[in-house]
């Protein structure tokens, strides 16, 4: 098993290198000379040339990319054009905030989505099932920013029970200010999880071993939790894994609506300031994060599905 994990980790390295290279190359096209931006408009050509040389901007592409990667490994993400501060110090806390938001969103999506999907499958074609199918159809198609606005309208402006924006300090405050953004961000994923759970459970419900278990006289609840759910879990896990990347991306928009101090908002701000190093660093960090989350989900399969584990053990023999 450990060998499997190590192998998967090694396979991730080229993907990460490729992804950083991709983003690095894209940002090469960004307009404006960094040296000129940093020195201001009244800098002489000579000053600019000197600074370019100092910053290593005149080096060939490969050299600059290698330097970026070595610095990245050392935890140095470069300097921001905007305020001349180290990007890593600005981004770390924001990365945590984004993770809190995305994590809470996944948690909400799973806690609501899976049970709703199960009940829908067990009571197929009931009023509840029809209601769930309709609601999830619309939730999956709703733009995150619009749902966010509607939730703010209802809970913050009309009812006044939840804060409309910002991240409050202290645990109760944080929890309160987290509800609306996390709910907004989770909406699409929740709908997809509920629908996948339903579909996957419906496949399992018709299996012979479920009839056998029922004939044994098992309680319906035991049957559902112990016999159906574990067998229906693989597609559900896949969907959760796929949506995590989308959630990290979706956090960009959600953070903008709720003024959540995460990386997503940082990117949007950086774009409006044409702060290329900050954009590069944030996109790279989020891509790395999403790659590792996907890896984690892949590893989780092996734990959930004994078939995958045994397949690997067979290969080893």
């Amino acid at each position: 098993m450990i060998q499997y994990i190590v192998k998967r980790f090694i396979l991730v390295i080229p993907v990460l290198l490729g992804a950083t290279l991709l983003v690095f190359t894209i940002m090469e096209f960004a307009p404006g000379d960094p040296a000129r931006i940093m020195l201001g408009n009244d800098a002489t050509l000579e000053d600019i040339q000197i600074l370019r040389e100092e910053m290593g901007l005149n080096d060939p592409f490969v050299t600059r990319y290698t330097r970026f990667i070595t610095n990245l490994l050392k935890g140095d993400l470069g300097m921001s054009y905007r305020n001349n501060l180290e990007i890593s110090s600005q981004i770390l806390q924001r990365l945590m905030n984004t993770m809190i938001l995305a994590g809470a969103a996944v948690l909400i999506a799973v806690i609501i989505g899976i049970p709703v999907g199960i009940i829908s499958a067990i009571k197929q074609y009931s009023v509840f099932d029809n209601f769930v199918m309709m609601t999830t159809l619309f939730l999956a198609a709703s733009p995150v920013f619009w749902l966010g606005l509607m939730l703010v309208l209802l809970f913050a402006l009309k009812l006044g029970v939840l804060p409309a924006a910002g991240m409050k300090s202290g645990f109760p405050g944080l929890l309160l200010s987290l509800i609306l953004p996390a709910l907004t961000l989770s909406s699409n994923t929740m709908a997809i999880i509920a629908r996948t759970t339903r579909a996957s459970m419906l496949e399992v419900v018709r299996q012979d071993y479920i009839d056998t278990a029922r004939a044994k006289g098992l309680k319906e609840s035991t049957l559902t939790v112990k016999h159906m759910l574990p067998n229906a879990l693989i597609p559900i896990l896949t969907v959760i894994g796929i949506s995590f990347g989308g959630l990290l991306g979706g956090s960009v928009v959600t953070e903008s609506i709720f003024a959540w101090p995460g990386v997503g908002r940082f990117i949007v701000d950086s774009i409006s300031f044409k702060d290329t190093p900050s954009i590069l660093a944030s996109v790279v960090m989020l891509s790395i994060l999403s790659t590792f989350i996907n890896l984690f989900v892949d590893l989780l399969y092996a734990f959930v599905d004994p078939r995958i584990k045994s397949q690997y053990q067979l290969l080893k023999r």
């Binding site: 991709l22 619009w146 609506i257 949007v268 891509s287």
Partner: protein, 306 residues
């Protein structure tokens, strides 16, 4: 077509359905799916709105567009929905319904072109990877893995940030960031048909690789790709609106649905209608494409055929 129709009449007299073309079979299956038909009707209505607004702009030389959709009329500022303005007015007193109707073309055209572009870039790669397999397949798919590693919207944002904000660049960004998933779908469906007997037959009579791919594999591998295209249009529409919302897409005063919502937030307390209605149109459009895509998948899936 003529011959086909003739055949069909003969068939219906005899009462068999065996010799119908794939398209007719699929359409028959599709027609029976009520949800999918709802989707199709909504899409037809949206396309109708799109054509009408474009024709009006063309005939009136944009005078209606300029004076009702773009021109400010502060007397009607934030007017509530009424008989003269069904959906109310926005913060500059422009009729919201007209703005939303004129905004249809951004969502539909950009969504459709972005997905087509993704397919045009990603499709050939997927086809080559699936057809030749081996090392070429490995190289192409690893490159696509890299594209998949970067979340879709982030990649699009990075491209827009680097190239500058404009409609063309938005289209490029959406096209490039969606290409990887299309190459995967195309590869999978090419691999599913490439070992069929008719491909072998074509090779036996000496058809070139290009001819086999274009003439025999492509039409037979098309079904899953078509489904993917329809389903992805919804996602692309949401992405266009999302990027416009954060200011990286279509710029105001153009009446793009996401861009309308950007300013709506500030006036939410007094004018809920500005934020509610454009969103409802967006949701309806995306739901329609999803229903249509689901119906198409069911209709084209041989497993479900009776």
């Amino acid at each position: 077509m003529c011959v086909l129709n003739k055949n069909n009449t003969v068939e219906s007299e005899v009462g068999t359905v065996r010799d119908r073309t794939l398209f007719q079979q699929a359409w028959n299956q599709f027609k029976r799916n009520r949800r999918a038909m709802v989707g199709l009707w909504i899409i037809t209505a949206l396309i109708f709105i799109l054509i009408v607004t474009i024709v009006i702009d063309f005939l009136t030389d944009y005078s209606i567009y300029d004076s009702f959709v773009i021109k400010q009329n502060l007397r009607n500022k934030l007017a509530k929905p009424s008989l003269t303005h069904f959906l109310g007015c926005d913060e500059f007193g422009r009729d919201l319904l007209l703005r939303i109707l004129w905004g249809t073309k951004y969502s539909l055209l950009l969504g459709f072109s972005a997905v087509s572009l993704s397919f045009l870039i990603g499709g050939p790669f997927g086809m080559i990877a699936g057809f030749y397999g081996g090392r070429i397949d490995n190289v192409i798919m690893r490159v696509m893995d890299v594209f998949m590693a970067c979340p879709f919207i982030l990649l699009a944002m990075a491209i827009v940030a680097a190239l500058g904000i404009s409609t063309t660049n938005l289209l490029i960004a959406l096209g490039v960031s969606g290409m990887a998933s299309f190459s995967r779908v195309t590869r999978a469906s090419v691999m599913a048909v490439k070992d069929k007997e008719y491909i072998e037959a074509a090779r036996a009579v000496g058809a070139s690789d290009l001819r086999i791919i274009v003439q025999y594999i492509f039409p037979n591998a098309m079904a899953p790709i078509l489904v993917q295209i329809t389903l992805r249009i919804g996602t692309a529409i949401l992405l266009v609106a999302g990027l416009s919302y954060i200011g990286l897409g279509i710029q105001p005063p153009a009446p793009e649905w996401g861009a309308i919502l950007t300013s709506a937030k500030m006036y939410m307390r007094d004018a809920w209608h500005i934020s509610a209605f454009p969103g409802l149109f967006l949701v309806t459009t995306v739901v329609a494409f999803n229903l249509f895509g689901d119906g198409l998948r069911d209709a084209l899936d041989p497993k479900l055929k009776k």
